[in-house]
């Protein structure tokens, strides 16, 4: 458990370092005459066919992934938790409407709906985040609604309500703290989902276009690979694995320890 957290932290620091250009390499600079250089002194991970430093590209991509993943997952979890708590608490018409909406969203293959929303919003960071969050809240909604419903009849809630606490007191003060472990797990799982999805969107030309997202680097990396230079693609593959694997393990540990019933995002 501790070592996963340590790995994660190391990664976050690296991402921050990229943000601050502490690595001292600029991802946008094209080194003419040094295209497709294999890893070695000067370029630790080599260069791509445009002569860009693969290490700098990969770190810049990490920064984008960290940002998109965190913000999109945060939005999805907040939206899903708010709607889920409302549906589980009020039941009745509110519940039916929210369940209908979430089931209709869930009936559309997530990647297609995200692609459609991202496409209509146009390229860019924010549209990728909005598209991912607008679709992936559904998974959070489902588990939060079920759990709120379960908590609602617990003694502590009945006691609080008996003591005169209203909905606006019970939901945030009593039920929300009991949902936090589950929300933490959902946050980690949706972070992974958002990172993966942003890379796919950017690869397909819908997400981040003007920045070296991992998806863009993969797109160029496929070109390099065809010419026999596997390192840009390999670097991104390893970097993505290095980000996602620890978070996935962390989510699993959290789930096993805190919340055995949580479901993975679809």
């Amino acid at each position: 458990m501790r070592k996963w957290v340590a790995l994660l932290l190391a990664y976050l620091v690296l991402g921050a370092a990229a943000a601050l250009h502490l690595v001292g390499a600029d991802h946008a600079v094209q080194h003419y005459g040094r295209e497709s250089v294999p890893p070695g002194a000067g370029f630790w991970l080599g260069t791509d066919h445009l002569g860009r430093d693969v290490l700098a590209l990969t770190l810049q991509g990490l920064r984008i992934s960290l940002q998109v993943g965190t913000v999109a997952a945060g939005l999805a979890v907040s939206l899903g938790a708010a709607l889920g708590m409302a549906a589980g608490w009020y039941r009745g018409a509110v519940d039916r409407a929210a369940v209908w909406l979430s089931s209709a969203v869930a009936a559309i293959p997530a990647i297609l709906l995200i692609l459609a929303i991202g496409f209509m919003l146009g390229q860019g960071y924010l549209s990728a985040i909005a598209a991912i969050a607008a679709v992936s809240w559904v998974g959070v909604f489902r588990v939060v609604r079920a759990e709120t419903e379960r908590q609602k009849t617990r003694d502590y809630v009945l006691a609080a309500r008996g003591a005169g606490a209203g909905t606006l007191q019970v939901l945030p003060r009593h039920i929300l703290p009991n949902l936090l472990p589950m929300l933490l797990v959902q946050l980690a799982l949706h972070f992974v989902y958002a990172v993966n999805t942003e890379v796919i969107l950017s690869f397909l030309g819908v997400g981040v276009a003007e920045q070296p997202s991992w998806g863009r680097t993969i797109l160029f990396g496929v070109h390099d690979l065809a010419e026999g230079h596997p390192w840009p693609l390999a670097a991104v593959t390893v970097a993505m694995f290095g980000l996602i694997f620890p978070v996935q393990r962390l989510a699993d540990h959290l789930r096993d320890r805190l919340d055995p019933r949580a479901a993975a995002p679809r």
Partner: protein, 417 residues
């Protein structure tokens, strides 16, 4: 059972309506972006934008050459825009503005007012009627502003600008027609005028030839490995547990081209890319890669199911009565976990869209996934909408069938609401 089937069908119909509303919101409402501008780009000419609106169903009629407007005076560029139901002419720097109200007038009246008017002190307009002026003379003048919506046209001294006229379809009627078209299976045409419906069916066959074997193979393999791990436990179980998380953490976009390169280009075991007879040789590697990449999430889920089941008393009982391990597995455990496995595979069906999207793109299989990617790259909303709608309907249908199958196989499942 019949009552349940009908009830479930009714709720599926409600969800189908919800799906069509969501697609309406995404593609037609203009909430996320003006559909015509997305096709043409924001800097397209007014005529291209108008033609795109006609094709997308926002206009029921479009007359691009109603009249030609000229302006005489010192060199200046005016910009023609629509301002609500009025036509606005302003100088490029925005210092002079002039509006012609169009509400409640006919085209003839509006054109008569434009002819000879002065948009700013020192400039004078003149008008040459075009081929459409006679025909649309009695039509409402607000169509002139409608034709300019979302676009702007420049009017230079010494150079004419075409005035256009359009009949806009009211939003509610457009939405109604769109929903009707979707449910009738009338998906319209692509940007280049190819019918989408026929293309969908021939492409769906190829996608299924790829997705069905891959899905069945990865499910079967995951189930077998999960049972093996659950029965053996020990190091095998632990290795598979770590492997499954590792497998889930691999990015498909990055892994597919690497595996393709290794297995097809370096080792030459498979053809690399393409689609020609014999087709099945081009499907082998995509199916293999799909199976290998898609296996891991299922494996983990099935393992926990199998473990839970193996600790049930009936398993201990069967063993105590002398039944062998394989027999217990086959006749008791497997049978009992089939219902949750079936339910889970249906909920995993939408994920097939992702596989077909990426794998078909990398291997050049001309299926629905490749069609979608091409549509996204060429900016074709109609194709994207059709594929999205169709796959959602398929999902609802499968969900309904699987629910019935589960209820039939396990009465306890049926009792759940």
């Amino acid at each position: 059972m019949l009552a349940r089937a009908l009830r479930r069908l009714l709720s599926a119909a409600g969800l189908a309506a919800g799906v069509s509303l969501i697609l309406l919101l995404v593609f037609d409402s203009g909430l996320l972006g003006d559909p015509a501008l997305i096709e043409t780009g924001p800097k397209a000419s007014a005529q291209r934008i108008g033609e795109a609106r006609l094709r997308l169903g926002a206009f029921s009629a479009y007359e691009p050459r109603l009249a030609t407007l000229h302006v005489a005076g010192p060199p200046q560029r005016f910009v023609l825009r629509s301002a609500g139901d009025a036509l606005e002419l302003r100088t490029l720097d925005g210092s002079q503005r002039w509006r012609v109200p169009l509400t409640g007038r006919t085209v003839q009246q509006a054109l008569a007012e434009l002819d000879g008017a002065s948009p700013a002190p020192g400039w004078r307009l003149s008008l040459t009627p075009g081929p459409g002026a006679q025909e649309r003379a009695q039509a409402p003048a607000s169509g002139i502003a409608a034709a300019l919506r979302g676009a702007s046209q420049s009017l230079d001294t010494g150079r004419g600008a075409e005035l256009a006229w359009a009949e806009a379809v009211p939003a509610w009627r457009r939405y109604g027609r769109r929903i009707g078209e979707l449910f009738r299976g009338d998906f319209g045409v692509t940007r280049t005028g190819q019918p989408i419906g026929a293309e969908l069916w021939s492409r769906a066959r190829r996608s299924l030839a790829l997705a069905v074997p891959a899905f069945l193979l990865s499910t079967a393999l995951a189930l077998a490995l999960a049972l093996w791990a659950a029965v053996r436990r020990g190091w095998l179980d632990r290795v598979l547990a770590v492997l499954s998380v590792a497998g889930m953490s691999v990015s498909w976009v990055a892994a597919i081209p690497l595996l393709q390169r290794w297995l097809a280009a370096d080792l030459r075991w498979f053809p690399i890319y393409g689609w020609e007879p014999p087709y099945w040789t081009y499907l082998l590697l995509p199916i293999l890669i799909w199976t290998v990449l898609g296996l891991w999430a299922d494996l983990r889920f099935y393992r926990s199911l199998a473990l839970e089941e193996l600790h049930q008393e009936y398993v201990r009982n069967a063993r105590a009565q002398g039944l062998g391990g394989a027999r217990v597995l086959r006749r008791h455990v497997l049978r009992n976990i089939l219902v949750p496995v079936l339910a889970q595979s249906v909920s995993a069906l939408p994920a097939l869209a992702l596989g077909s999207l990426l794998i078909e793109r990398f291997f050049g299989v001309p299926g629905l996934g490749g069609y979608t990617v091409d549509a996204v790259l060429s900016g074709d909303q109609a194709v994207l909408r059709a594929v999205t709608f169709l796959s959602a309907m398929c999902f609802l249908l499968f969900q309904w069938l699987a629910d019935l199958a589960c209820a039939w196989a396990d009465p306890r499942y049926g009792a759940r609401p």
